[in-house]
């Protein structure tokens, strides 16, 4: 267990270093001057030079990366070049939005897919089982922003039930979470069906039924748990994708999440902001993967850490 943790920590740090290096190099290579983007075309050459100097852009790239690395290790994420406030403040404001979106979307997708998937696997020959299958294929094919705009049109404009955008309170999250969850529910339903179909064919299920166990118990206590491994893995992957992939939904609903922050940072060539958000994203991915390993070990007693 000790060596496992040590190896994991070393690979964590290596990945984070590589991610920050690649991000830095990419922004260097990308054409675009942050000073000009900030001051605009009506500014004077002297003003531009002064700002570049203030931002430390006139120093060699290696020096700038080194300084950023040293500060990062000390916990100082630096100041945003565009907003002139600490990057940590910006991230702290954006993080709850994205976390809520991602976690609730996966939770909703899991709940929905389990319900529909299990029932349709058990009663697959019935017409509504097949209908669920068709609808889920449809939901997977439709683009997110289109679903989002349709939902806004229906619930915000026509029915006036929910806000059309912005982040005022929990009601602002209902439509975006729904938009994110729909295609993912479809994917997970598929996985649940496959997992359940495999499990239901197994011998121990026949034994349980023969023993006289109620059908409900057979479904959920035995078949589902074993089919759940595939679903849990898929949900974990989706969560990881969502941590960085909420940008389209954030744009459509005007939600100030990490996706928006990162996009604006790149467009403005705001190096400290982009570096911090990408490294944070990498941390999120690594931590989620680790959590998935732990959960998988819970679910499947055959998995061991070594």
């Amino acid at each position: 267990m000790g060596t496992y943790l040590l190896r994991k920590s070393v690979s964590f740090i290596t990945v984070l270093f590589v991610v920050s290096l690649i991000t830095f190099v990419t922004l260097q290579v990308l054409p675009g001057d942050p000073a000009l983007l900030i001051l605009g075309t009506e500014s004077s050459p002297q003003a531009l030079a002064a700002l570049r100097s203030r931002l430390g852009l006139d120093r060699p790239a290696a020096v700038r990366f080194g300084r950023w690395l040293v500060n990062f290790v000390r916990g100082d994420l630096g100041e945003s070049v565009r907003y002139n406030i600490p990057v940590s403040t910006l991230i702290r404001q954006a993080l709850p939005v994205t976390l809520n979106l991602a976690l609730w979307a996966v939770a909703l997708a899991l709940a929905g897919s389990v319900l529909v998937g299990v029932l349709s696997a058990a009663y697959g020959e019935r017409w509504w089982g097949r209908l669920a299958g068709v609808l889920s294929r449809l939901a997977m094919a439709v683009p997110q922003f289109w679903i989002g705009i349709l939902l806004i049109q229906l619930f915000a404009v026509k029915l006036q039930l929910l806000p059309a955008g912005g982040f005022a309170d929990w009601r602002s999250l209902i439509l975006p979470v729904l938009t994110l969850a729909l295609p993912r529910t479809a994917v997970l339903i598929n996985m649940v069906q496959v997992g359940m179909a495999g499990a239901l064919r197994a011998d121990y299920v026949r034994t349980a039924k023969a023993k006289g166990l109620p059908w409900g118990k057979v479904l959920f206590k035995h078949a589902f748990i074993n089919g759940a491994i595939g679903v849990a893995t898929a949900a974990g992957i989706q969560l990881v994708q969502l941590l960085a992939g909420t940008i389209v939904v954030e744009q459509v609903f005007g939600l100030p999440g990490l996706g928006q922050l990162l996009l604006n940072g790149v467009l403005q060539r705001d190096l400290p902001l982009v570096q911090a958000v990408t490294v944070l994203g990498a941390v999120g991915v690594l931590v989620t993967n680790l959590l998935m390993d732990v959960i998988l070990a819970f679910l499947d007693p055959r998995v061991r850490f070594d």
Binding site: G32, I38, G40, S43, N100, Q153, G166, G254, Q268
Partner: protein, 491 residues
């Protein structure tokens, strides 16, 4: 049990979600970009100025017709040699309750012209001294400059308390509204300032600028009632609100010059016949209807009709629409097989659509055009800074004074990415600073003529600003600069 743990974590995370309720006689405005900083020595982004117009004031401020009215100065006098400006201050208060003194004014203006402090100090380079005492502020210039008064109306000449700190996120001005809360990427919240010097209080207690980058989202927010006003709606989404009885759209000139920029120094564009040929094959009506849905006025030179005092209205026939003549000119120049790249800024749908229509119009006279879309940061780097382009398109921002608009085309100017050069033009622009009244207007009208005759670029149109708002909102006025005056709105 494994799942309850996850559920508990989820519930805990939701507690982190902050709530920000907005209610009362509140005006919610959708803007597409975040401000960058509210420090007048730094702030230059257009999105910042739009909002800051309500927070800060200078000695003078702009009126909707482009003229200047007194703000912190009740009146002023200019010496006959145009070198001394004497301003008489009126009684006014800052947002923190302190009275505005001549010291504050002098301090703010001296900081604005200090190279170590201000990003736009060069705008004030001709100021020799600023002195304040009692209720007067006296400014000495090193040479006459007709544009100087307009410089005092801009954000960089805003007045703030002399010992103010942290203005970037906590501005202290004298305007009709004061900043109460700014959440980057979310909103900027302003509250009515009860002690404004005019004694006239704006209707809305509170103004919230909501940052909504996507135009479709902004329109949906307007239709659902979550937003009251979209000050700059794109023509491409106009039809979504056009027939909605709850919404009205006010259209007015923007004082923006949209130009098909030609790289004057790159062959074959250094040959005026080639530039003229390109200019004479552009059908502006097609572009005005195809890209701007009819919401635009055609332009033939660098100044928009919105600047009525200086606009030269006789230039429509300098490069008239004549595709046959255009083909002839290309043949004369030996460029019948002309092939070039049109670089378009992807962030501006209006310019992209204009470019696409122009490319088709050029194809009709046998010119082969490759369209290249670039993102704004890249456009600034490649086209604007390095001037590495054939033909491009951009909108040149409106300014109050014609000098600021025309100086862009002078030889060697840092903004002259067109690489245009005409010594007569340079002379006229320089002279114009020292002239006044009709003589000044005449100089600038001749300067516009040169821009058209020498084809510095192809001036296409001044697109109208479309302000979409709830039908009940009144008092809207268009300004020739990128600002929004919330204090004049009411219901």
């Amino acid at each position: 049990m494994k799942y309850t743990l996850t559920l508990i974590v989820l519930a805990a995370v939701c507690v982190l979600a902050p709530a920000a309720a907005v209610s009362g006689a509140s005006l919610r405005i959708a803007v597409s970009a975040d401000p960058d900083t509210f420090d007048p020595t730094q702030a230059v982004a257009a999105s910042t100025v739009e909002i800051a117009f309500n927070i800060y004031e200078g000695l003078v401020k702009a009126a909707p017709d482009g003229t200047l009215v007194g703000a912190l100065a009740s009146h002023w006098e200019v010496s006959p040699d145009q070198l001394t400006y004497t301003f008489t201050l009126r009684d006014a208060f800052f947002h923190d309750g302190r009275k505005v003194t001549a010291d504050d004014v002098a301090s703010a203006l001296n900081r604005a012209r200090d190279p170590n402090v201000s990003a736009r100090w060069s705008d004030f380079a001709l100021v020799e001294s600023v002195e304040g005492s009692g209720s007067e502020v006296v400014i000495h210039l090193s040479q006459p400059n007709a544009a100087f008064l307009y410089t005092l109306a801009e954000i960089n000449a805003a007045i703030y308390p002399r010992d103010a700190q942290g203005l970037a996120s906590r501005p202290i001005g004298t305007g009709p509204y004061r900043l109460v809360e700014w959440r980057p990427n979310q909103y900027v919240r302003l509250e009515r300032f009860e002690q404004h010097w005019s004694g006239h209080l704006p209707y809305y207690d509170e103004v919230v600028f909501r940052i909504i980058p996507d135009q479709n989202s902004a329109v949906l927010n307007l239709l659902s009632g979550d937003v009251d006003l979209i000050p700059r709606m794109e023509a491409s989404v106009y039809h979504q609100v056009a027939y909605n009885p709850a919404v009205k759209v006010e259209a007015g000139p923007m004082n923006l010059v949209q130009i098909l920029a030609i790289n004057n120094q790159r062959p074959p564009f250094d040959d005026i016949r080639v530039r003229k040929a390109l200019a004479m094959s552009i059908n502006r009506d097609e572009i005005i209807y195809g890209a701007a849905w009819g919401f635009a006025q055609p332009l033939y030179s660098g100044i928009s009709p919105a600047m009525s005092a200086f606009f030269n209205d006789s230039l429509a026939d300098v490069n008239p629409y004549d595709p046959e003549r255009a083909r002839e000119l290309l043949r004369e120049a030996g460029m019948s097989g002309l092939h070039f790249t049109l670089t378009l800024p992807a962030d501006y749908p209006l310019h992209v659509q204009t470019g696409e229509i122009a490319a088709q119009q050029w194809k009709a006279i046998g010119v082969d055009v490759d369209i290249e879309l670039v993102e704004w940061g890249t456009w600034l780097e490649r086209v604007y800074t390095q001037r590495d382009y054939d033909v491009s398109i951009v909108g040149l921002a409106g300014r109050l004074d014609p000098h600021a608009i025309l100086v862009r085309y002078t030889t060697g100017n840092s903004r002259n990415f067109f690489n245009f050069s005409s010594s007569e033009f340079d002379r006229l622009v320089e002279e114009g600073l020292r002239l006044q009244g009709p003589e000044r207007a005449a100089a600038y009208k001749r300067a516009q003529e040169i821009l058209a005759q020498d084809v510095a670029g192809i001036f296409v149109m001044d697109p109208e600003q479309l302000a979409a708002m709830r039908r009940e909102i009144k008092g809207w006025a268009h300004y020739p600069i990128y600002v929004l005056d919330a204090a004049r709105l009411y219901e």
